[in-house]
């Protein structure tokens, strides 16, 4: 029932406040004076008090379906998943320009060369999504090791890796085969295709390496064309590939818009053999690049566990430095 007189309409909000127990002293006083002389509003106040009482009962009453156990358990597992995917990243300057390193609970999830220009926050968000958080402390140790690596003072980056950014099982196989290439060695895209048992999948191998989320750590720079041309790296930044190879002792010569590894200047072995040779040993000059692994230095080949060939004796007749 709505109040009929202007004075009753005016007092109504105070009346609601009094019923709800929210009224200040002044409003309570106004209501008290009014209801003393107004029967309708007295009844109205009683109604609202009764309603407040019902709400109070309803609030305390058990709710059907009020069991949060399942939702709580599901939430715990989704939070754990979200946490493990959360990437903390750091951005550092390096001899190869600005580099981003991102790591999750599982391990290093992303290494990226950053563009010299353009909005960095937008770029990072595109790479990592909105959940990424800058965490230099968590990536500082990685940065220090990476710089040592780029300066030739470290040959391995034994980092735990988070490989969940792989696009497919095929890409995972390609990158695993690439990760197995020794420091200072190069092979060809066709060579990787052969190693994973898909010898005709040369272009898919190149694509899979193009989307390598962990360049340097997974050394896709050690994979080159069968002609010896470096062919591509980090978009159009093939000079980075040349510098990484130079750090590892792999010499290249400048070619048109590219660099080239000279097969004739590399220690050579048939992939799967245990001995390395000079490039003119036996039938090596006529072998397809897809079957070969090349080393820039003898030290590189021997550090990888290979012995000098007992026929051509690269240990006694090394290539000219």
């Amino acid at each position: 029932m709505s109040p009929q007189y202007p004075v009753c309409r005016a007092i109504e909000p105070d009346l609601l406040s009094v019923a709800a127990g929210e009224a200040g002293v002044a409003a309570a006083g106004r209501v008290e004076v009014h209801v003393a002389g107004c029967r309708l509003c007295r009844e109205e106040l009683a109604h609202y008090r009764a309603l407040e009482g019902m709400m109070d009962t309803l609030r305390r009453a058990p709710l059907p379906d009020d069991d949060a156990t399942l939702a709580r358990a599901q939430l715990a597992s989704r939070l754990a998943d979200l946490r493990s995917r959360l990437v903390g990243f750091g951005i550092f300057s390096s001899p190869l320009g600005r580099i981003l390193i991102g790591r999750s609970e599982q391990g290093v999830a992303l290494v990226q060369y950053l563009p010299a220009r353009g909005s960095l926050p937008a770029h990072v968000q595109r790479l990592l999504g909105e959940d990424a958080v800058e965490d230099r402390a968590a990536t500082e140790g990685l940065r220090a090791e990476l710089v040592e690596y780029l300066e030739g003072r470290r040959a391995r980056l034994d980092w735990p890796l988070d490989l969940r950014r792989m696009r497919s099982d095929f890409q995972r196989r390609v990158l695993e085969a690439t990760a197995a290439l020794p420091y200072g060695a190069v092979t060809s895209y066709a060579g990787i295709a052969a190693r994973i048992g898909a010898p005709s999948a040369v272009r898919p191998v190149a694509q899979a390496l193009r989307w390598n989320p962990l360049p340097i750590v997974i050394p896709c720079h050690r994979v080159i064309g069968t002609s010896g041309a470096l062919t591509g790296y980090a978009g159009r930044r093939v000079e980075l590939k040349q510098r990484l190879l130079a750090v590892e002792g792999v010499k290249t010569v400048a070619a048109r818009n590219d660099f080239k590894v000279d097969r004739g200047a590399m220690y050579t072995m048939v992939t799967g053999d245990l001995e390395y040779c000079i490039p003119t040993c036996g039938s090596l000059p006529s072998q397809s690049m897809s079957t070969l692994t090349l080393f820039g230095t003898r030290e590189g080949a021997e550090a990888a566990g290979f012995a000098p060939c007992t026929s051509c004796r690269p240990d006694l007749h090394p290539l000219p430095a």
Binding site: A50, L51, L58, D65, D66
Partner: protein, 179 residues
Amino acid sequence: MGRVMAEDAFEAVVGAHHAEIRRYLLRITARGSDADDLSQETFLRAFRAYRALPPGSNVRAWLFTIATNLGRNHFRAQGRRRRAYAAAALELRPDAPDRADGQVLADETRERLERVITGLPAKQRLAFIMRKMHELDYSEIGASLSCSEESARAHVFQALRKVRRGLDGHLPIGMESRS
């Protein structure tokens, strides 16, 4: 290190507030499965935003704001189906166990009350439930509904008037003296 501590703190937030937020969502959606989904979503969003929350913030009110927004999006997506669900849920509701003879609130009246609340316009209903069922203050309700404290109070009072009209003839006057 900072993140580890923040994560422990978030565990405490879940422990302290998840059950109540789910209850709130259960009241506004009237479906246990919706309350499950939306309460999880509330806390996943909260987790993402938690590290940016200024220290000393009112975490409970902040969670109500997230849950309220998710609830409103949910209503928009569901459109008219919501009322059908709510009505069905009320009809299928089993009797609460061990109800005492002297139960003040008759089942019929209680169902009528819930039905009236379900029929309120969204903002009034949410404001009403936050105030009367979860005892949030008007500034917190205003923050949840992106309106002023005064508007929040006006929503609650408007809801009160409608509920009172909807229960005309069913309000047990003098109930307090009987208990």
